[in-house]
C-alpha cells in the first residue's frame, strides 16, 4: 500500500486511505499547536494593549511615568507581533505545499521549519527539543510534508515515555549513501505507559512512504534514508 501512496493523494481519490488519514491527523495536531501558540501571543498583545489603556486613564501617574510604561508596553506588543508573524510564515511554508508530490528535500531545513511546533509539543511534558544542524547532508527524494509528519510523530511518541527536564536532540548525518536522522534523549526513559499516541505500524508506514527504515537505538530512535542519487 505505502509504495503507491504519495501526498498528492491526500486531496485526491485516495484521501481516505489509512496512511493519508494519519498524515492529515498529524498535520491537524501541528495546526492545533500553532493555533494555541498564536492564541497565546494574541492574549499577551490583548493584555498589553489593555494595560496601555489603563495607564492612559490612570490618575496616579505623572505623564513622564505613563509615557515610560506605555513605551514598554508597546515594545512588548511589537515583539509579540513579530513572533506571531514568524510562526505564521512557518505554517504557511508547511501548508503551502500540502498538495505537492515528491521533491528533493534538505532534512535539516525541513526539521528547522518544524522546530517551533516540536518545541511546543515537548514543552507540554517539560521536555526540551533541540535541533543540532551540523555539516550539510545530501538531499533526500521524498515528500517534505510526510517527512515532517514522521518527525513530528516520532518526537511525540518519544516524549511520551520520557520524564520532565529531558533534552531530546535531533541530528542529521550522512553515511555510505544514506542520510541518518537521529533523535536522542539525554536522560533514561522512566517506565513507559501503554497508551501509544502513534502505533509502531503507523510510524513504519509513514517511513515506508519515504523509503526509510526506523530503528530503536540506545537512548533514542534513528531514521535511515537513501540519499538522492545513491
Amino acid at each position: 500500500m505505502s509504495d503507491t501512496v504519495n501526498s498528492q493523494d491526500i486531496s485526491g481519490k485516495n484521501a481516505g486511505s489509512p496512511v493519508n488519514r494519519t498524515v492529515i491527523t498529524i498535520a491537524g495536531r501541528i495546526i492545533s499547536l500553532f493555533v494555541h501558540e498564536l492564541n497565546n501571543h494574541l492574549a499577551v498583545i490583548g493584555e498589553h494593549s489593555g494595560l496601555a489603556d489603563d495607564l492612559i486613564a490612570a490618575r496616579r501617574l505623572s505623564d513622564a511615568d505613563k509615557l515610560k510604561e506605555i513605551g514598554q508596553t508597546i515594545g512588548m506588543i511589537e515583539r509579540r507581533v513579530a513572533l506571531a508573524s514568524s510562526l505564521l510564515k512557518r505554517l504557511d511554508s508547511i501548508a503551502g505545499r500540502m498538495d505537492k508530490c515528491t521533491t528533493l528535500l534538505d532534512a535539516d531545513d525541513a526539521i528547522s521549519e518544524l522546530m517551533p511546533f516540536l518545541e511546543k509539543a515537548g514543552k507540554r511534558k517539560n521536555i526540551w527539543i533541540k535541533h543540532s544542524a551540523g555539516r550539510r547532508v545530501p538531499e533526500l527524494s521524498g515528500d517534505k510534508l510526510v517527512f515532517q509528519c514522521l518527525i513530528f510523530a516520532l518526537v511525540e511518541e518519544l516524549c511520551r515515555g520520557l520524564g520532565p527536564q529531558t533534552v531530546v536532540t535531533i541530528t542529521c548525518d550522512s553515511k555510505s549513501g544514506s542520510v541518518i536522522v537521529g533523535l536522542r534523549h539525554d536522560l533514561p526513559a522512566p517506565d513507559q505507559d501503554d497508551s501509544a499516541k502513534w502505533s509502531e505500524d503507523t510510524l513504519r508506514e509513514l517511513a515506508q512512504m519515504l523509503a526509510a527504515e526506523i530503528s530503536k537505538t540506545e537512548g533514542g530512535v534513528e531514521l535511515k534514508f537513501v540519499a538522492h542519487g545513491c
Binding site: 494555541h36 492564541n39 490583548g46 489603563d54
Partner: protein, 123 residues
C-alpha cells in the same frame, strides 16, 4: 466589600504579570505563580479567594491541577483560563464541579465580573 485576593497560575509570564497589573489597577490583590510546583504552597500561604488557572501548564494536566487545588484549598474558587477546551477537559471540569472558565484572549471587564460574582456567591 474589599476587593478579592487573586492568584494567577500561568507559565506565560508576560501575560500573567500584565493581567496582575491590570487587576491591581482595579484594586485587586493579584499574585502570579508560574508553575504548578509552587501553586499549593503559595496558595496555602496567600489564601486567595480566586485562582485564575491556565489549563495547559507544562508537565501536568489541567484536571490534575484542579483536583489538587480542590483537595488542598477547598474554599478557593477556580476560574480556568484557556485558549481552547477539548471535550475531555470539559467533561472532567464539569465532573469536578469547578467549571468556571474564560477563553483567552478576554475582556478584563468580563473577568472582573466573574471574579466578583464568584466572591459574592462565597460570602
Amino acid at each position: 466589600m474589599s476587593k478579592a485576593r487573586v492568584m494567577i497560575v500561568d507559565d506565560e509570564l508576560d501575560f500573567a504579570r500584565t493581567l496582575a497589573s491590570r487587576l491591581q489597577i482595579r484594586g485587586y490583590e493579584a499574585h502570579v505563580v508560574e508553575s504548578f510546583d509552587k501553586t499549593i504552597e503559595i496558595a496555602q500561604e496567600l489564601k486567595p479567594e480566586v485562582v485564575l488557572l491556565d489549563l495547559r501548564l507544562p508537565g501536568i494536566s489541567g484536571v490534575e491541577i484542579l483536583m489538587t487545588i480542590r483537595q488542598f484549598c477547598p474554599g478557593t474558587e477556580v476560574i480556568l483560563l484557556t485558549g481552547h477546551l477539548n471535550l475531555e477537559q470539559t467533561i472532567e471540569g464539569v465532573r469536578l464541579d469547578s467549571f468556571h472558565f474564560i477563553m483567552k484572549p478576554f475582556d478584563i471587564a468580563e473577568l472582573v465580573q466573574k471574579i466578583d460574582a464568584l466572591r459574592r456567591t462565597n460570602v
